[in-house]
């Protein structure tokens, strides 16, 4: 449906930005991005548009939940 990738904002004006993905760069349009962003933020890019600001805290929370769940499994000795 929609391939996307998280790119780091490394250049920006009001309408467009350049994102970096570990050394590869592309211009993206910001016209559809609802969130405030600053250089260094990550955005989800689809078809040349930033469609969402990526939320590192949420990513962290999700991962931590997974890890806690795994630890729980370990403790329960269920693996």
């Amino acid at each position: 449906m929609c391939l996307g990738f998280p790119g780091k904002l490394i250049e920006m004006d009001d309408f467009k930005a350049v994102v970096d993905i570990d050394g590869t760069r592309r211009e993206v349009s910001l016209m559809m991005l609802p969130d405030e962003v600053v250089l260094g933020d990550y955005v989800m890019v689809h078809a040349g548009f930033a469609i969402a600001k990526m939320d590192p805290d949420e990513a962290q929370k999700t991962l931590e939940a997974l890890r806690e769940f795994a630890d729980l499994l370990d403790e329960e000795g269920q693996l």
Binding site: M1, C2, L3, G4, F5, P6, K8, I21, D22, R26, V28, S29, M31, M32, L33, P34, Y42, M44, H46, A47, G48, F49, I51, A52, M54, D55, P56, E58, A59, K61, T62, L63, L66, R67, F69, A70, L73, D74, Q78, L79
Partner: protein, 361 residues
Amino acid sequence: MKFVKDFRDRELAEKLLAAISREADTSRVYRFMEVCGSHTMAVSRFGLRSLLPKNIELVSGPGCPVCVTPQWEIDAIFEIASREDVTIVTFGDMIRVPGSRGESLQKLRADGADIRIVFSPLDTLKIAEETGKNTVFIGIGFETTAPTAAALAKTAKELGTANVFVAPFCKTVPEVMDVLLADETLEIDGFLCPGHVSVVTGLDIYKAVTAQKRSAVVTGFEPLDILSSVLEMVRQHNKGEYEVKNFYTRAVKNEGNLKAQALLKEVFYQADTDWRGLGRIPKSGLRFRDEYQSVDALAKFGIQETGVTDLKGCKCGDVLKGKMKPSACPMFDNGCTPQNPYGPCMVSSEGSCSAYYKYER
């Protein structure tokens, strides 16, 4: 890639799989649908199907835009592409889609048609300026991609560019989900809901699912996203409690992307449209509002809706509804292969049949 690598952790994946195995009731079958073709691709690419217990079936849904585009729209694209004065701009996904007479953009290009593959719809503007020809962007996709086509249309209109047009063939997810849910023969227990569509739409569109006692988990495209969502769905079913869950909070907000939603509303209206294999679905397609006539490829080239005339023998309809596995289609690997696709589900590399062919055969 940041936000990606951590979600491919093998150890965590194995633990999730163990939990799924343990929690899944071996006396029953769980059938979950990946609404989104990119989920289908991810499941295949990471070999997740081979890891899941046998009684958990993942079936591919209607989320490959190339797959659900009806024949007449595809033929219309080819008709436009065959014109001398036209440049077609498209995503790579469309290149091999076969028309009703075996043609494709690939073959038309070999015959001399000017066809450009882009990463972004906005790239159309530069191409149009360079060639000076009528430049037609093929707008396919769902709520994630549709705003990018809308953005092109709006920009072209504002710039007053006279030679940029958009073929408005985008579709919307809630309406097709409604059709699936209305089908009493549909045996789907839950839906892996499309992460990037949900970035735009938000979560409300999935309420109808849980109302029908089916699970709905919005999730990302990495193994941990998918496996944790499967586990969640198994649990919901085991408990008999259904709730829309957002397992992709790093990207998806409950309300979605309001700016993109507004853009869609500004440029398009919801029209009844034809879906390959699913027939005509009310208000399921995005067509240009009157103000956008000047960039509407349908108006420019006088394209008439000719209705659904699907490919004989192709079981895409059943495949898309999750009623049939690709390998059960009599044409699968027997007149229909990724190298020589007969039906559109075999064309897009995320099409159900293609994914099955490549990774599961």
